[in-house]
């Protein structure tokens, strides 16, 4: 005759195994019965979201990761971004050097809302670099909350955060 502890242990393991099996079967059935109709299929999977940092660093000057000799700055000539208002971004690198100019020439900006894993509903206009700065025009943040501006150029990258108030 089995000891009570042993019985409970066996029972627990059986319950866990059953639960896992049921979950797998349910998930497979839901995939089959959902019969998704793909028309323009970009990415059906839920994109990975991020949790907002407890103390969002809103610094407007940061060193470039992967190019520590360069410091990046952002400025908003039309004022800090406000909800649903168009704004522009001036991204600069210092010191003004051949390295900064080369990095700037290939800089790419991506603006996302990390908690929701989506971007803006506009396509900003990137103007030609002037000196050690490049201007992006026509950004628009359509939701309140944490947005991140990621700048990448070959192996270098830097991110800036914007916290858009609800009103």
């Amino acid at each position: 005759m089995m000891h009570l502890k042993t019985r409970l242990c066996v029972l627990g393991m059986t319950a866990v195994a059953t639960a896992v099996t049921v979950e797998v079967v349910v998930n497979v059935l839901s995939l089959i019965t959902a019969a998704p109709r793909s028309v323009v299929l970009a990415d059906k999977r839920q994109k990975a979201t991020e949790t907002r940092p407890p103390n969002l660093d809103l610094a407007r000057e940061r060193p470039m990761e992967g190019a520590e000799s360069l410091t990046a700055t952002v400025a908003f000539p039309r004022g800090e971004p406000r909800l649903q208002r168009p704004f522009d971004v001036i991204f600069c690198l210092k010191p003004d050097s051949p390295e900064s100019l080369k990095t700037l020439a290939n800089i790419d900006m991506k603006v996302t809302m990390p908690e929701h894993a989506h971007g803006m509903m506009v396509v900003p206009e990137r103007q030609k670099p002037r000196g050690a700065c490049v201007v992006y025009k026509g950004l628009r943040l359509h939701m309140a909350g944490w947005w991140r501006l990621d700048f990448r150029s070959e192996g270098a990258k830097v991110s800036f955060h914007v916290d858009v108030p609800a009103s």
Partner: protein, 403 residues
Amino acid sequence: MRKRLLGILLFAAFGVPQSLPTQSFPEDTALDRAQIEFLASALLGAPFSGARKAPEFPSELASETVTAHATAHATDLVAKGQKAFHDRSLSVQNNTSCADCHLARAAFSSPRVVDGRGVPSLYGAGVWRFLNADGSADSLVSQALGPLTHPLEMGVDCNETDTSPEQRGEGVSKNERGQTNLVTDRDRASHGHVAGIQTHCTEFLQAVAAYVNTLTLPPPAPLDVFAQAARRGTLPTLEPVLSHSALRGLKAFTTTAQCARCHFGPYLSNGEFHNVGVPATPEERPEKAAGRAQGLERLAQNPFRCETCEEWKHLPRGRTVAVGAFKTPTLRELSRTPPYMHNGIYQSIEAAVEHYAMAPEAIVGTSEAPRGPRGERLFSTQTQHDIHSFLLTLSSVGGTDRR
């Protein structure tokens, strides 16, 4: 004894339900600052950050220092528009007018679904930067062209055939690049003719747009009474207008359920486009599921669009972010405007709220609807009930409720 103990343990492990319906009312009905701000923004007539910047007519015309003739023209245009809105003789089979789908008793929406699309309420239509669920119109004038010419609606053929504007002696304002300078609805109203469109159609669109633009404010709802009291700080003396369930629902709406991220402002809509994973209906043609992505291409074909507007330069044509995204609908008069979602897939408010509790994956593009941890429900069935109670407070008292 051992068997009894085992039974207790099993019940504790598997027998306790995930959520228990509350039997008590919340003791703390205090609203935090974010909720007070939300209520202030939701008041009818409150300023709205997502509103269009181009001046609307006729109110804009009436408010400026203009000639009496212009003011009279605006007033006359609204009257003509109201008549045209109800006139079935304009349709190809003399059996359809705007009012047949946009029913006044249903907050100017309809229980019908037309070509896979629900009929949106017209309240506040003049404030939006883009209209239609897919954003395929950028003004009231450009929007009305669709129903006027759609074969399942009024079916009017507005295409010009023989005469050219030059032959008729009418001018169309164009810029140096040959683009039509229809920047504002006033521009659209003042033009007697737009290339490719018969004049009588243009006149109809201008008049109807002028009338629809006057449908700004729905009747006040219980939430407005509550919101006013919250703003004035007189809530403690206010007779109860929100049930405790509705109050819990308000709190959930602005916190755990995250509804207020998109549903805020006087029309409880930010007017933006989001993919929230709404399933397709059997009647919905596959290409229509593309939402904003398709809408932008339709807008590009609309002869009344604003080609020279700054916004046009930055629209996400061809971008995946627009795929499957549809415009946030207003929640005003919600109990009178079923079915719900852009394709009318949900017949009840409860079903629509359940959609957000479960947050299914998108059929196209990627859903941005928040999910609970480990893919579980974002909020409980009790919270779902409370949110439903709150949403009912967005409809004015009286009239016909169709929930």
